[in-house]
């Protein structure tokens, strides 16, 4: 939580013709937006292109922004819409397939196990239906409240809570056998 609202201030400055303010917005948000888009697409190139497109849309739609302290929601709305459009426009397949070849344990180079885990998890998340993957990304990675997610996705917070539970159960069902995680009785 920020004390002031630097993004609102930057948007006002940009609307007044200060291009440096737009560059400040880009530098401040390109990392979070890039990570968000990547976790929705699991494709580095697509994520780079979509992040660029997000800020282009932001540039075009900047005058429409109404300062309500919801800059992040507004920006993520743009990113989410772009990701949905991209997913619709092409049949996307996971960047890291679940059937990726794995070296036998003990023969791998250092850090291989960690990488293998990451690949398996990424593939599991990518395999989720879009409406569940969005909830997981927004809730787990972006630490967004269900109310904020509700404003972003246009879905009631209670529905999103249910979706998040379903998504986590599906991931658990996939990851526990593959990664050998013992069930801790957390359900």
């Amino acid at each position: 939580m920020r004390d002031a609202d630097p993004d609102g201030d930057r948007m006002r400055r940009w609307a007044a013709g200060d291009r440096a303010a737009f560059e400040e917005i880009v530098r401040a948000w390109e990392g979070p937006v890039g990570r968000f888009v990547y976790r929705l697409t699991f494709d580095v190139h697509a994520a780079a292109d979509l992040t660029q497109e997000v800020f282009l849309r932001l540039f075009r739609a900047g005058a429409k922004y109404r300062d309500g302290g919801q800059f992040k929601t507004w920006l993520y709305q743009i990113a989410l819409n772009l990701c949905r459009d991209a997913a619709r426009s092409k049949a996307r397949k996971p960047a890291v397939p679940l059937t990726a070849e794995m070296d036998p344990p003990g023969t791998c180079e250092p850090g291989y196990e960690h990488r293998e885990t990451a690949e398996v998890v990424a593939a599991a998340v990518a395999a989720l239906p879009a409406f569940l993957r969005e909830v997981v990304v927004l809730r787990h990675y972006e630490d967004m409240s269900f109310e904020a997610m509700g404003r972003l996705l246009g879905v009631p917070a209670t529905t999103l809570k249910s979706r998040f539970g379903v998504a986590m159960k599906e991931l658990e069902a996939v990851l526990i056998p593959r990664l050998g995680i013992e069930q801790a009785g957390t359900l």
């Binding site: 291009r19 880009v26 890039g34 580095v44 800020f55 282009l56 991931l171």
Partner: protein, 176 residues
């Protein structure tokens, strides 16, 4: 946040590869190109609408179009009589009244001028008579003065003669 700790740990294990920084210059360039494209599109739309309007206008005017090889005779166009505006009629009436008043005042002015000229002539005539009378009186007065002066001289001469006759004949010392 305490639900599914293992799944959450697994999710946290997924790294995000470094993404290239956003090219702000490319954003400006793309936005400019987009604006230029939009301007061109609007220009084309405007040209199309203008052409369509011209076509509609021409289509509407073609039935009234006549092709003539010679100069047509000049037609005198008499505009239809329109009922006069009541305000104009009122103004004309007022103007007529003003002209009538002006005519009357001109006639009165001419009469007065005649009267004044007559009076002036009369005064001049009378003045001339008076001057003649005065001249006659002055002449009579001068004649009277001349007569009086002559009589005074005659009287003085007579008195002198009498004085000489009476007092100059006796010598001094003589007794009467």
């Amino acid at each position: 946040m305490s639900d599914f700790p293992d799944v959450r740990r697994a999710l946290d294990a997924v790294p995000v590869p470094p993404l290239p920084p956003v090219d702000v210059a490319a954003i400006y360039h793309t936005a400019l190109e987009s604006q230029a494209r939009s301007a061109r599109r609007w220009k084309r739309v405007a040209a199309g609408v203008s052409a369509l309007a011209a076509g509609v206008l021409a289509f509407a005017l073609i039935p009234n179009l006549e092709l003539r090889w010679k100069t047509p005779p000049m037609a005198v166009v008499v505009p239809p009589a329109t009922p006069p505006d009541p305000r104009v009629a009122e103004l004309i009436d007022e103007q007529r009244k003003l002209f009538a008043l002006l005519r009357d005042s001109n006639a009165k002015h001419a009469d007065l001028q005649d009267l004044l000229l007559t009076l002036a002539r009369d005064v001049a005539d009378r003045d001339t008579g008076r001057k003649q009378e005065l001249a006659e009186l002055a002449a009579k007065l001068r004649e009277f003065e001349t007569v009086t002066a002559r009589q005074f001289q005659e009287s003085e001469r007579t008195n002198t003669a009498l004085y000489n006759v009476v007092f100059a004949a006796k010598p001094k010392g003589d007794q009467p």
